[in-house]
């Protein structure tokens, strides 16, 4: 594998990752900007419109017809949240030309299509084409509505709202339904222009062989754009609330959900990650073995650490009558770690688990793209092997200190309808 990052212009990075084992080419362009309630929906719509049509393929039908003729190539847009930052992007993947049955130059055609979608959108009189935009908008509104369909994901989103209230991270990456409804095709186009001009841009090209045309295409395309981009701050540690707060919603569900958010100001991210693995990321973690297996309190009980906010979330699916018991046991298991009750086997198995996960990076194009983007956000490009070394150097004392640095910030509960509070 060969990795190379080139700065195309101010705050535009182009990373090329060449790995001969792949049969596909893929490209992801990320536009990075501050997350704000005011702009989140317009940004999501501004990016979303790019995969609905372009100046050349003027309808979704034309665009899709072309993609399917290129052996079902994929091209889509996304909006995500990373702490206080909104990451919007376009991603595409295709089979390499050498696998084309009829000898088409799929690589070149896809490069041209991506260029068109990003730099020559379907615009008329300073607004996205009305028909294409209507499709984009309905899609986003439906996606916002559909968040409730996934109960576990919805509970985590609501927990983030409660935990990060007053901070950009409380906002959904799609914005609110009300905000999205109000965004016109003209405003969405303005948001797109602002992203192209003002956001940080990181581009990831992953393929089995070099193709200088990709970098040149982006260099040329951005050369004609007057850029005024600043750098976003990727890490914004969230302050812990003076007193833990609990918020709940009631739905007609059979299984309740509980999400507990803990916060830390610790800068020892390697120790925090090791703590998170030992506490609740694997089937031999303290939460899985005790809260689920030994006490049968939850069907799932797991944790995740978000370094950019200094937050560790424990989410669980739990019956109403077990909520208190589960909460107490989760706190007790954290206390166990704080008191140094961690075995060498637990540390060893956490290291092995991390090592296995890190070594697998690079087996899919998306894992390369995610790895290098995350390192860019952290400000230092390191290899998975170097990250493993960071974990290996973590001592039991550092894990204990990491656990001691955590304070309970908030609890979100999704409750069933049967019980009146």
């Amino acid at each position: 594998m060969r990795y190379n990052r080139t700065e195309l212009a101010g705050n535009i990075g182009f990373s090329s990752i060449i790995d001969e084992k792949f049969k596909t080419g893929s490209l992801t362009v990320r536009f990075i900007t501050e997350l704000s309630g005011e702009k989140a929906a317009a940004n999501a719509l501004g990016i979303g419109a790019l995969s609905a049509s372009s100046a050349r393929y003027r309808t979704l039908a034309e665009l899709n017809e072309k993609l399917s003729s290129l052996y079902g190539a994929g091209l889509s847009t996304f909006a995500r949240k990373r702490g206080d930052v909104q990451v919007l992007g376009l991603t595409a993947s295709w089979i390499c030309s050498r696998y084309a049955i009829d000898g088409e130059d799929v690589d070149s055609e896809m490069l041209e299509m991506i260029r068109g979608c990003i730099f020559e959108p379907n615009v008329k009189d300073g607004a996205f084409d009305a028909d294409s935009y209507a499709i984009t908008k309905k899609d986003l509104l439906d996606r916002i509505d559909a968040e409730l369909n996934n109960k576990r994901g919805y509970a985590l989103s609501r927990a983030a709202e409660v935990a990060f209230r007053g901070e950009p991270a409380e906002v959904s990456c799609y914005g609110t339904k009300e905000a999205a409804s109000a965004v016109s095709a003209e405003e969405a186009y303005k948001a797109y222009l602002s992203l192209i001009k003002d956001s940080q841009v990181e581009i990831y090209y992953i393929a089995p062989q070099e193709d200088d045309r990709v970098l040149e295409m982006f260099r040329d395309s951005f050369a004609g754009i007057q850029r005024n981009s600043g750098k976003v701050r990727f890490e914004n540690i969230s302050p812990v609330k003076r007193e833990p707060v609990t918020e709940s919603d009631v739905f007609d569900v059979l299984q309740c959900k509980m999400v507990m958010t803990f916060k830390t100001a610790s800068e020892d991210s390697a120790a925090m990650k090791m703590l998170s693995i030992i506490f609740g990321e694997t089937p031999v973690s303290k939460l899985f073995l005790n809260v689920r297996e030994k006490m049968s309190l939850c069907y799932y009980c797991a944790c995740r650490y978000t370094q950019s906010k200094g937050a560790l979330m424990v989410d669980s699916g739990v019956e109403r009558e077990n909520i208190e018991k589960a909460r107490d046991e989760i706190l007790r298991q954290l206390d166990e770690i704080r008191n140094g009750n961690i075995t060498d086997e637990e540390i060893q198995s956490a290291l092995l688990s991390a090592d296995n996960a890190l070594t697998q990076i690079g087996d899919t194009p998306s894992s390369y793209s995610a790895w290098y983007f995350e390192r860019f956000c952290e400000g230092k490009v390191i290899t998975p092997e170097e990250r493993y070394e960071d974990y290996r150097m973590v001592t039991k004392e550092r894990i204990v200190q990491a656990a001691k640095s955590l304070s309970l910030d908030s609890i979100y509960l999704m409750l069933d309808k049967e019980v009146k509070e």
């Binding site: 052996y71 079902g72 369909n149 569900v253 299984q255 031999v284 297996e293 090592d355 087996d363």
Partner: protein
């Protein structure tokens, strides 16, 4: 031990199939350049296999719904420890799943695959069930059943199957019900284990950063020879017609969702693969974003980009499902039925057919780019009595007339059902 090399002339990919002396079928795909390993040890035993017998049995045995899934949970517990504790010593990520027609135990890792493979082969061949451990599992699975009942995608799918199938057990939830799993005890688990976990009914599929010779040496070391006991599974007689045309259920959802499906005639082996590919092509044509029907529904705000299709088939069932989000699912169903009738009348546009065929070919090639997908492909194709690269060959030979023939034969309006989950009825 018979060893065969299977090849895809189109992509150049290859894998090894071994009929091991123990009775087990083994598929190995060495994938140079990849770091990870994916291994699946599967048995042809899923939620639909509730009636069976072996050589010497005069009667069929009927077991409670959800027992295959229950057995999968319990096999993770050894006499002296939990299997996850063993994997924790190698760093592998272990898991298992039960579907309608198979149960598979798997791990993925990037180091120490040899030791993880020994763990996998060992624990699946070593059942240990007691009254205490069975009782405890009933609580955990009860919670899983509740969780899946809160999942609208799951509900809309099973509601559709219940509209379609009178008797076939595909209509029952994979995990069973709280009541059905209460009937499960250690003896029943041993009975099912001894019937279905015979190596002659199983397959090992392993792909990625491995050596075929090493894998086979570990298999020689760990596999215990099994006598083929002539397992026979049966299903209740299933009428051709549907149970009811539509069903609605209310759930807390933000967006209403639907599953619309045609009940088709079931088949096996190569015929099933051929019909599945034809079904995949015609359903892709119907949900193709460049088609007139799709564009009209989209423009009228009746569907969104979640609209898609899937071919769902196994022993005794074959359906083609159209799913998505819509406040007006009846209009989606009616438009689909009308479009099917139009195509049957007017034929399939050759240009569109060739385009969708290419798109499907691209999807199959992409699958070969991924260690996990390759391991699953080898296991699934074996269980479907086909080869891992057969789909590409079948696709290359398919004509528009074949696809149209499938549509004429299988897409009948009186076998169309619709299931809807909506916030309010």
């Amino acid at each position: 031990m018979e060893k065969t090399i299977l090849k895809s002339p189109r992509t150049g990919d290859s894998c090894i199939h071994v009929k091991h002396s123990s009775g087990l079928d083994i598929y190995i795909c060495e994938m140079p350049g990849f770091s990870s390993v994916e291994a699946l040890f599967g048995t042809k035993y899923g939620s639909i296999n509730t009636m069976f017998r072996q050589n010497g049995d005069s009667e069929y045995t009927t077991v409670p719904e959800g027992i295959a899934h229950f057995l999968e949970h319990k096999l993770f517990e050894n006499e002296d420890c939990d299997v996850f504790e063993l994997y924790a010593k190698t760093g592998a990520s272990g898991n298992a799943f039960t579907s309608f027609d198979k149960t598979a135990y798997l791990f993925s890792c990037s180091k120490n695959y040899q030791e993880s493979l020994r763990i996998l082969l060992d624990f699946v061949q070593k059942p240990y069930f007691t009254k205490e451990t069975v009782d405890k599992e009933q609580g955990i699975i009860g919670q899983e059943i509740k969780m899946t009942n809160d999942n609208p995608e799951w509900r809309v799918f099973f509601n559709m199957l219940r509209c379609m199938y009178h008797s076939h057990p595909v209509k029952i939830d994979i995990a069973g019900t709280v009541e059905s799993i209460a009937q499960i005890d250690a003896d029943l688990l041993y009975k099912c284990y001894n019937t279905f976990y015979n190596l002659n009914n199983m397959v090992l599929s392993i792909a990625g950063n491995i050596s075929a010779d090493e894998v086979l040496a570990i298999c020689d070391e760990c596999l215990k020879p099994c006598e083929d006991k002539g397992l026979e599974t049966v299903f209740p007689e299933e009428p051709e017609d549907i149970v009811q045309a539509e069903v609605y259920e209310s759930q807390p959802v933000g967006a209403s969702i639907f599953n619309i499906g045609y009940k088709c005639a079931d088949c096996r082996g190569e015929e099933r693969l051929k019909k599945s590919m034809e079904a995949s092509i015609v359903s892709s044509l119907l949900t193709d974003a460049s088609s007139d029907m799709y564009q009209k529904l989209l423009k009228d705000g009746i569907i969104n980009s979640s609209f898609g299709s899937e071919v769902f088939t196994g022993d005794g069932y074959f359906t083609v499902i159209f799913s998505g989000e819509s406040d007006q699912p009846e209009k989606v169903r009616d438009a689909l039925a009308a479009e099917v009738e139009r195509i049957i009348r007017e034929g399939i546009c050759e240009k569109d057919f060739q385009r969708i065929k290419k798109s499907t070919y691209g999807m199959l090639v992409r699958e070969l780019n991924n260690v996990e997908a390759v391991a699953n492909l080898m296991m699934n194709s074996h269980m479907d009595e086909t080869g891992p690269y057969d789909a590409i060959s079948v696709l290359s030979e398919m004509t528009a007339a074949d696809a149209l023939g499938f549509m004429r034969e299988s897409f009948s309006r009186d076998k169309l059902v619709m299931s809807v989950i909506t916030a309010e009825l």
